[in-house]
């Protein structure tokens, strides 16, 4: 089933650009970051695929590989199946094309990722922090993030029982 979908995609984009992995529970496709928007448009509107739902968009930080991986979870009512796309950007100046034009819901997911992981999405309508205050320093979901001890002169932690 999933391999059939991969074949459709590979026909369009070529087998070299899309790497197929099925060693995890949900098989996924690894693509280059430049390709993600075209791929998303194709997957959403191709009549054979019709992945019309974007379930989730998530960023994972891998400091040792020096990259941040975006994980896109798509769902198709027609196929009744979940599909995972992955793409990686470098950690220093992470930039990626926004897919807000494909799924409007991606807008907020991308803002959240920008907020918590620091990935900048180009062509995004409103690239601002979503959950944290505008003046927050750092991106908390990065693995090397250290919690500030004070925020606006307030202590951020309580000590253990002693």
């Amino acid at each position: 089933m999933s391999f059939r979908i991969y074949n459709i995609l590979a026909d369009r984009f070529g087998k070299d650009t899309l790497l197929y992995f099925d060693d995890t529970l949900n098989p996924y496709i690894q693509v280059a970051p430049e390709l993600i928007q075209t791929l998303c448009i194709f997957m959403r509107y191709n009549p054979a695929l019709k992945f019309s739902f974007l379930f989730s968009l998530c960023g994972v930080d891998y400091p040792e590989k020096n990259q941040i991986t975006m994980v896109y979870h798509l769902f198709s009512m027609k196929q009744k199946m979940l599909w995972v796309l992955k793409t990686s950007v470098r950690r220093e100046h992470p930039e990626l094309e926004s897919i807000e034009s494909v799924w409007k819901t991606a807008g907020w997911f991308e803002r959240e990722i920008y907020d918590l992981l620091g990935v900048k999405f180009t062509n995004h309508s409103n690239m601002k922090r979503l959950l944290l205050p505008d003046g927050w320093v750092g991106h908390p979901l990065r693995k090397d993030y250290e919690e500030p001890l004070f925020y606006h002169d307030m202590e951020t932690s309580r000590h253990r029982v002693s």
Partner: protein
């Protein structure tokens, strides 16, 4: 302070001569938690409503990276305080998927019963609070009264009324006995006629209908585009229920309908559809609970799981149909005893993002109806 605020607003909110900015929330009676809306209005008509979330951000995703798998369950209660059971459920399902744990049949049935009870409780609050926002205070209190019965049942099942922590990796923490099953049956017998009474009291009230019907219409295309899930999506007429489309747990053994919006009193996808889908869903939940109670097998309630659970490198996306729609968790393991990354996707998060689009041209009172009908819960947005 004021000047900086205005400066920060300027690129975002462009006010014309007759417009004014109304700051709705964070302490507003009907924002359902701590939410803020920057409302640009011309008199009563809204030109733009910008949701401003994050007041309840507690960094649960970051906490998950520092907490062992089995110990994280109590934190999931706090994601959505009205429907804690679903967050429990999706988390334990995700861990079981990754660790390849077989859950006993009885435990799965118990999970379904607890989840559906919780779904009723959550929908009670959501529909009641909508009525309260519209101005009728009695239905809300009646629903609180019914929810209290559910809370009592939950308390007798797992010991807590709101933050259940009922599920465990590999099963559930407590079994139900004859007494509790009997209580649930009694409650359902009482509750089903009360739904009709509630409908007579408020759902079919003409003023209520006029307030909700044809207000804040979300077309099916928009609903998919903005990633609405659960009752909000079904209110727009799309039959998508994770219980049916991606069947998890033992939901494939039950016979239940998926109510979808048909434009009951107005047009498809208006506030009334979203509201009434919830009311209908409560009846369905009742029937699921009855079936589950009658079919429940005997046996263990918990599989043997190591206390210090270590999962080899893997990843999975698990989702359940929560009271507020699809709740998904993307769990990445790296061989240690704690998750490498846990992404929690909730229904309210996507529902909130549509407010900006739908609210244009509504009146201030309609915005409140819209927020109520979308059933957003602030901690679920912010996590």
């Amino acid at each position: 302070m004021l000047k900086t605020e205005l400066k920060h607003l300027k690129p975002q909110v462009h006010t014309f001569k007759e417009e004014m900015i109304l700051n709705m929330g964070p302490q507003h009676p009907s924002t359902h938690g701590v939410l803020n809306f920057l409302v640009v209005t011309d008199g009563e008509v809204i030109h733009q409503a910008l949701p401003n979330v994050g007041y309840l951000h507690r960094g649960i995703e970051k906490l998950a990276e520092q907490t062992p798998y089995t110990t994280f369950i109590p934190f999931t209660d706090r994601i959505d305080y009205l429907a804690a059971m679903f967050a429990n459920h999706v988390y334990v399902l995700a861990v079981e998927n990754l660790a390849d744990i077989e859950v006993p049949e009885r435990a799965q049935f118990l999970r379904v019963i607890a989840c559906e009870l919780n779904r009723i409780a959550s929908h009670l609050i959501s529909t009641g609070a909508l009525a309260l926002d519209i101005g009728a205070s009695t239905p809300f209190v009646h629903w609180i009264r019914e929810r209290e019965c559910i809370n009592d049942i939950m308390e007798s099942i797992c010991g807590a009324r709101l933050t259940y922590s009922y599920m465990r990796v590999g099963g559930v923490s407590q079994d139900i006995n004859e007494q509790i099953a009997d209580d649930i049956y009694k409650f359902l017998d009482h509750f089903e006629p009360i739904i009709d009474e509630y409908n007579r009291l408020i759902s079919f009230n003409e003023i209520f209908i006029k307030r909700l019907a044809n207000v804040a219409i979300i077309s099916p295309v928009d609903a998919v585009n903005f990633g609405l899930v659960g009752p909000n999506l079904r209110g727009s007429g799309i039959e998508m229920d994770i219980r049916r489309t991606i069947s998890y747990s033992v939901y494939d053994q039950f016979d239940f309908n998926i109510p979808i919006g048909k434009g009951f009193k107005g047009s498809l996808g208006d506030c009334y559809d979203r509201y009434f889908v919830r009311v209908l869903e409560m009846t369905e939940s009742c029937s699921i609970i009855r079936q589950a109670l009658s079919q429940i097998p005997k046996g263990d309630i918990k599989a043997k799981v190591k206390r210090k659970l270590k999962i080899k490198e893997n990843e999975c996306y698990t989702c359940v149909e929560s009271a507020r729609g699809e709740m998904g968790m993307y769990l990445l393991s790296d061989g240690s005893d704690r998750p490498y990354r846990l992404k929690i996707k909730t229904g309210s998060f996507t529902a909130m993002s549509i407010v900006e689009k739908v609210s244009q041209g509504l009146m201030v009172a309609d915005l409140i109806a819209l927020i109520g009908s979308l059933d957003v819960v602030a901690p679920e947005i912010d996590r």
